[in-house]
Subunit: 323 residues, 2 copies
Amino acid sequence: MNKPQGKVLTFDFGGTKLAGAIVNKATGEINHYRRKQTPKSMGSQGSLDVIYALSDEILKLNNGNEIQAIGISFGGPITRDGQMIIKSQHVEGWDYFPLPEVLSKHFGLPVYMENDANAAALGEWFYGAGEQCESLFYAQVSTGIGSGIIINGKIYRGMGLAGEFGHLTIEDDGLECACGKLGCLESYSSGWGIASRARKIYPQMAEESPLRQLTLGRPENITTELIFEAYRQGDEKMRALVRSAMASLARCLADTVCILDPERVVIGGGIAKSKEIIEAEIMPYLEKYIPKFIRSHFDLRFSVMGGQETLFGAALLSEEKFR
Amino acid sequence: MNKPQGKVLTFDFGGTKLAGAIVNKATGEINHYRRKQTPKSMGSQGSLDVIYALSDEILKLNNGNEIQAIGISFGGPITRDGQMIIKSQHVEGWDYFPLPEVLSKHFGLPVYMENDANAAALGEWFYGAGEQCESLFYAQVSTGIGSGIIINGKIYRGMGLAGEFGHLTIEDDGLECACGKLGCLESYSSGWGIASRARKIYPQMAEESPLRQLTLGRPENITTELIFEAYRQGDEKMRALVRSAMASLARCLADTVCILDPERVVIGGGIAKSKEIIEAEIMPYLEKYIPKFIRSHFDLRFSVMGGQETLFGAALLSEEKFR
């Protein structure tokens, strides 16, 4: 494979933050990383202003070195051709917005866009735990749950929405999901799902339980980080909750593995930060749910890129062979 | 795409029958179709003898016309390179048997082999309801449940076992499956699964119920055909059973569609013969389980090839571009 060359200005549009950096594709280095809050209620122009401010800072630090292209990771569904945002669940004003065209006009550079799970999968596949394997299933477990599929060195998109892993049904007529369905995996095992389930059982938890202590008795202080910390401190209710969330995640991973039988599975996203807990809890359930004849070659890894896989993936979009 | 050319001698190795025919790839015609019972207990040599007898009949009818290659559809897992059977669930003596090599020596022709679900998917994709679409998920619901995935005109195999659709978990700690897992879809919604569930409730069924009438009061007479006939005659218990089986199938199809978002889904296998029942029962559940944003372009068809899709797929294996 020809090695990727050149530098790409990359952006990661998340629900809470807008990040940018310059990625050197050849060396796999990331430079001039900057992030700002996503302005939630100022429409697309509000976000564009933040992007321009961010890029001014980054380009100043870049000191006139050549930029080949712009790569965008967007936290929401986009059209299959990468030309248009379909929707943002978190920020208003983005529906059917042709972000690449607008940025291309502003910067005078080619612009490539992918949704964040696909971008992360591509970045992790090339530079990280995917190790450029033949087929990768990358499960992104953060606030929400998404996934990306890389087959023969390219993002597999299906009709444009392949990898909607968070919307596999884990419980018939279960919890209501933002997608309109009941019982989606995302409502059980995502950061958001785990936190909201913790909030529900909070009133029944003992005063002296680690989670109550860590959150100072206020359920609005619950975060997944504190839930995992409570787990570490031996909080029985949080241990049971995390175990149940990992059982659900394992079952959906196993189902996916039955369909795709990929060379490798990588778990990434915020949850990968608590790798030792996830691994301990998920393994027995993967053992349970993956058929023996596939389990023998099943290969699970965790993201090694610390959240920057999306920017790396966004940078790689500038190479036609990966798109 | 270059049109396939030439004639291929094809075999379909099933658990109950061994079928053979000559497929004209260019015209999509099948000729000299013959079938015999699979000898269950005479080892690989027993089956080979039947194949040779079958091919003698077929080649005699073929009258010396040129045969380009041999294509095999095998009802069980094979190695990813298509060179070896891994196992037959139904017939003894096949474990790690290099069937293509043996047949190639006997016939002096190149031999290509695929498992039956992949072969059926390829045949249906090219000549049938798949209509050569960009991405196809073909669910084969017969005695067992398998599936085949065609992406960009090629069989997608993953590490070799992709498409193990029958082993998605539909019920946690549910019915025991031959694969060693609990709660696999195959135990609920396959022909075998539906029939064995009917056998379980048979003692509680009223004397005058259609299924009891059709089976002359003997549970060993139960077949899926009679269950569907009982359904047509208004048997309430069989209606509930078929509905439950279709709810399970729909949920697993929906999960698969979330992962693959294929251009088209085709349901094939023996169950496709009762298309009007399957369609009526499965549609409300697909509506329930497929997220709205995918449902809008979800496209379900039924096999139109009457069981011969495996032979057509086996024939197409002789073209390198499809393998």
